[in-house]
Amino acid sequence: MAVAAPLEAASREGSPGERPPGEPRLVGYLYLLPAFVVFAGFVLYPLYRAAYISLWDWDGLTAGTWAGFDNYAEVFTDEDLRAAFVHALILLLFYAVLPLLIGLALAGVMARARVRGLAFFRAVLFLPQVVAMVVVALMWKMIYQPTDGALNRFLGWFGIEGRSWLGDFNLALPSVGLVGTYVYFGLAMVLLTAGVQKIPTSLYDAARVDGAGPFREFLAVTLPGLRGEIAVALTLTTIYALRNFDLVYITTSGGPGNATSVPAFQVFSRAFESGQVGSAAAVGITLTVIIFIISLGINRIAERST
């Protein structure tokens, strides 16, 4: 639910440990106390507990038995689980990469031409993120309906035969992914257009003096200038992609077969439907580690290319 940009932003700003003004003040602990107590009690402690439970084979009802790292081994050996993680990585393309490309295309154009009324467009582009994911999911379920869904009717105007978007093994995952693209392309576009306006025009002038065409200008000036924004957009959308639960729960329940099953959905169904609580905790922890690694990775790369 929360935003990940801070990690990136913080590292760019310099060390978060940079000295705050003023003298040392013990009273700081007091100010920190309420936030820390809730945070430790309902995020840190559960996280530790999750790691602990993940080492047990537990059905959630009767006493568990020690499993060591078996549940983690299962993440790699169990076909369903492995598939779920692969699906999550494929969804990254739709949630993160595709919106980024769309945003970059727009930023590339906007670097060379002023567009008025940007505030209005921003407001509209952001709208899908504001609408509850449950509603977005329902909306798209109706659009994807095979018999008289909006998409198939639209394609019908061009004589293209409709598809069973959510029911076809090969189409279901991309179809779910495109809903993610729908929600997040606005984020990427707004972030990148804002970023591109901050690039000093002198850099473009210099590039043009050197005889750079639009494409080289994009590569030489726009892209490096947007490094920070790209990292933020990627981090945010990556996290959203990996914790994707409600969308899958509502549209496909992981089907057809297991074609759209994702780790977040596996956590729910293992923990609360099929009584594999230890395994569910292991999946959740693995997911956290992956989010952690990818976020750090993105920001390392963004920093290095400075």
Partner: protein, 447 residues
């Protein structure tokens, strides 16, 4: 340095939190709940004081919703001191949330719980349901049902044995998964599988959709597949498998034949081609509008089909090898059970009694539902007559086979996903039976 400090903090925290025992370790006393008091006489509900009875049921479709609403109204009129607080959820949503609801001290008093090892077995094992044998004696419930139907709601109190042991609830409605047909399109209903297939081909040749099928929710595939399976495999072999009896198997030639047959139907275009992406409810509504000749569905849609199609809808058992020995998927709907956390089990039992007595049977018939109780009045008009006759015929021939998803705790997911893959051609029939067998063995070994 950054990474180090984070790590240090995490380690410090885990040290603080200390180490505990096995999760769930302190809960052993909860398991195998026995009723705190055994009922010996019919309790007088009108003297129970003001009571709120919280009920979770899955009767969301028109005719079934009407039936429950009517009976709830009558029950509250009979006992003005009782208020029923009803939560209705679709079958799928109920299945996903029932374990969460049944756990905890404030579980609903009465819950409809799916039979079999996936749901009831797990909940019984955790001691979350109250056995109702004492009430069964007091209210003489055993005389209301055939023993076959009662046994479906039985489990040993450790959740290990399905089909015997304690009684945990009562079902209201009988269920047959059979074939509804549109009388405008099908003039003489087929009586054997061969005739049925010929009719499907005829529909196809006429450019119509032979069978309407909506499988987005995954579970409907179980019904279509098992309906066919009942015609290719021995009914006892299917029962043995579902009840996990010695020597039962899924990966055998007869079961493969069932898988091959239904895949053949898909390939020949006997189903609407988008079935895996179509919702269940829109599918039967599409049949009701005349979009297909047949619909393989449970009798729970009878009331709604009758309302929309009037006398145009017909019902038959799945045609098989021998018209005199029909085999059909079915049994009874989800039993109403009492949670062991309920503080008003007497009221809950009286409510369950009320939902399944002779008056209830009449209300069920009036709302085009199929009562599971013996000696229920027979309906006089419409498709319900055909449903009631089929029910009679099927029970006389002892042809009911239980739902496959009862088999193991994870079988609902295992089999429904596998069937979707079979139908979409992602698995061959032999891969399908072998894969399902493997899932079954995994459970059987750890048993």
């Amino acid at each position: 340095m950054k990474a180090k400090s984070v790590l240090a903090a995490v380690l410090a925290l885990s040290a603080l939190a200390g180490c505990g025992g096995a999760p769930g370790g302190g809960d052993e006393d909860k398991a195998a709940a026995t009723p705190s008091a055994t009922a010996e006489a019919k309790p007088d509900i009108s003297k129970a004081g003001n009571v709120t009875l919280r009920v979770w049921d899955q009767n969301v479709r028109g005719g079934q919703n009407a039936e429950i609403e009517e009976l709830n109204k009558q029950f509250q009129a009979k006992y003005p001191n009782v208020t029923i607080e009803r939560t209705k959820k679709s079958f799928e949503d109920l299945l996903k949330t029932v374990k969460l609801a049944a756990s905890g001290d404030d579980a609903p008093d009465v819950i409809q719980v799916n039979q079999g090892r996936g749901t009831m077995g797990e909940i019984v094992k955790a001691g979350l349901l109250r056995p109702v044998d004492d009430y069964a004696k007091v209210y003489d419930w055993e005389s209301r049902y055939s023993s076959t139907l009662l046994d479906l709601n039985r489990f040993s109190s450790d959740g290990a044995e399905f089909g015997s042991g304690e009684l945990y609830g009562l079902s209201q409605m009988g269920e047959i998964v059979g074939v509804f047909y549109n009388k405008d399109k099908v003039t003489t209903p087929p009586t054997t599988l061969t005739e049925f297939e010929a009719s499907l081909q005829q529909a196809k040749d006429a450019g119509d959709t032979p069978i309407m099928f909506g499988n987005l929710e995954k579970w409907p595939g179980i019904h279509n597949f098992e309906s066919v399976l009942g015609q290719t495999a021995d009914k006892q072999a299917i029962r043995d498998f579902v009840f996990a009896r010695e020597g039962a198997s899924f990966d055998n030639p007869e079961f493969q034949a069932g898988a091959t047959k239904i895949k053949e139907w898909v390939d020949k275009g006997y189903f609407n081609k988008d079935f895996n992406g179509t919702d269940y409810d829109p599918a039967w509504q599409s049949f009701a509008k005349g979009d297909s000749w047949y619909l393989i569905a449970g009798t729970w849609v009878t009331a709604d089909l009758a309302e929309q199609m009037g006398d145009k809808v017909g019902f038959m058992l799945m045609p098989g090898q021998d018209p005199n020995a029909p085999v059909s998927l079915g049994g009874e709907d989800l039993p109403f059970t009492i949670s062991s956390a309920s503080k008003v089990p007497d009221v809950a039992a009286a409510y369950i009694d009320f939902l399944t007595d002779a008056n209830a049977a009449k209300v069920l018939v009036d709302t085009n539902n199929l009562p599971a109780m013996k000696g229920a009045p027979t309906p006089s008009t419409g498709v319900s007559v055909e449903v009631a006759q089929a029910w009679q015929k099927l029970n006389d021939a002892d042809g009911v086979i239980p739902y496959l998803d009862y088999t193991t705790p994870t079988f609902y997911d295992d089999i429904s996903s596998a069937i979707q893959e079979l139908l979409a051609g992602k698995q061959s029939p032999t891969e399908f039976t072998a894969g399902v067998q493997e899932a079954y063995d995994k459970w059987a070994e750890s048993r």
